[in-house]
Symmetry: none
Subunit: 144 residues, 2 copies
DNA sequence: CATCAAATACAACAAAATTGCATTAAGAAT
DNA sequence: ATTCTTAATGCAATTTTGTTGTATTTGATG
C-alpha cells in the first residue's frame, strides 16, 4: 500500500476527516529526514495555518502516524515506522547533523528481550546516539 | 572520586570556570530523577538566573555532564553516566510510571558497534522503552 | 445538494528560549 | 594579597514556540 493510502485508511479507521491541511502536512513529512516543526510550518506557508499544523501533528501523534525524536536540544517530527523503515538516529553535538542508523535485527531482538525482562509490554522504543561526527571531532573549536 | 570533584575536574580540563551558577545547577541534578528545565529553574530561584541555567545546561551537555532524556512529549535533564550508573528507562504509557533498566553489557556493546559503524564518536546514548506495565496492560481502560 | 459536526483560520495570548550588553567575579599574573 | 583580564552572570528586551477561543469553512453523510 502506498503511503497516502495508508494515511487515509488510518484516518478513516479513527473517524477523522481527510482534509487539505492533513494531506499537506503529511506530504511534507514523506521521504524526508526528521523535520523541525518550524520547517513544517514554513513548508505550509500560504496553505495551512501555524495553529493547524500543531493540531494536525497532535492528532498524528495520537494516531501513531508521526513521532517526535530529540535531536540534541530540539525535537523533530518524523513519520512513524508504519511509513518508514524502523531506524534510530546518530546526532552530532557539534554541528547538529543527524544520521539515520538502520535497523539491526540483533539489536532489536535484544531490546525486545530487555523490555520483557523489565515487565513492560513494549509498544515502541527510541534509541538516540550522541557524539561528534568526523568533521567536528577533528575540529576542537566546535566543542567549546 | 565524589561527584563534585569529578565535575570540577571536567570543567578544569575544558578550561571552564567553576562558578556558583554551575555548582548550584549541578547540585540540583545530583541523586535525583530526570528533571524538567522548569523545575531546575525553580530550584535556582533567587540564586541563579533563568538565562544562566540555560547557559549552564548548554555547556554541561556539550561537555557530556548532563543529557536529555525523552519522557513522552517532554524532555528532562539528568546527569550523564559519569555520575550515575548507566541505565535506561521503561515508561508506562498508561500510568506514567518510569522504571530504570540497568545496563546490559551485550546491548551496550552492540550500541558501541553501531555508533562506530555510523561514523560517530559517541559520547552518550539514550534508550527509552515505551509500553504498558503489567497492571495497565491487564486493564484496558487505561489504554485510551 | 442540504445538513451538521468537525476542522480550519485568524487573532489574541502565554510560555519557553535567546540575545545584547553592562556588571561581576574567577582565576592567572605579578 | 592585589591587580588584571576575560569569561560568566544578571537583567531587560526580544524572539520563538506553543495554546486558546471563536467565527467561518469544509468534508462526509444521507
Amino acid at each position: 500500500m502506498h503511503d497516502e493510502a495508508l494515511l487515509r485508511k488510518i484516518l478513516i479507521a479513527n473517524h477523522q476527516k481527510i482534509t487539505k491541511a492533513r494531506l499537506t502536512v503529511f506530504n511534507l513529512l514523506r521521504s524526508k529526514e526528521p523535520q523541525a516543526i518550524a520547517s513544517i510550518i514554513a513548508g505550509c506557508k500560504g496553505e495551512v495555518d501555524r495553529v493547524s499544523v500543531y493540531r494536525v501533528l497532535d492528532l498524528y501523534e495520537k494516531l501513531g502516524i508521526v513521532k517526535r525524536v530529540n535531536i540534541g536540544w530540539k525535537y523533530k517530527i518524523e513519520l512513524s515506522d508504519a511509513f518508514l523503515d524502523h531506524h534510530h538516529h546518530a546526532s552530532c553535538l557539534g554541528c547538529g547533523k543527524v544520521m539515520s542508523v538502520m535497523e539491526n535485527g540483533e539489536l532489536e531482538a535484544l531490546i525486545e528481550k530487555l523490555s520483557a525482562k523489565s515487565g513492560l509490554t513494549m509498544t515502541s522504543h527510541v534509541l538516540e546516539l550522541y557524539g561528534y561526527c568526523y568533521a567536528c571531532d577533528t575540529n576542537t573549536k566546535n566543542r567549546t
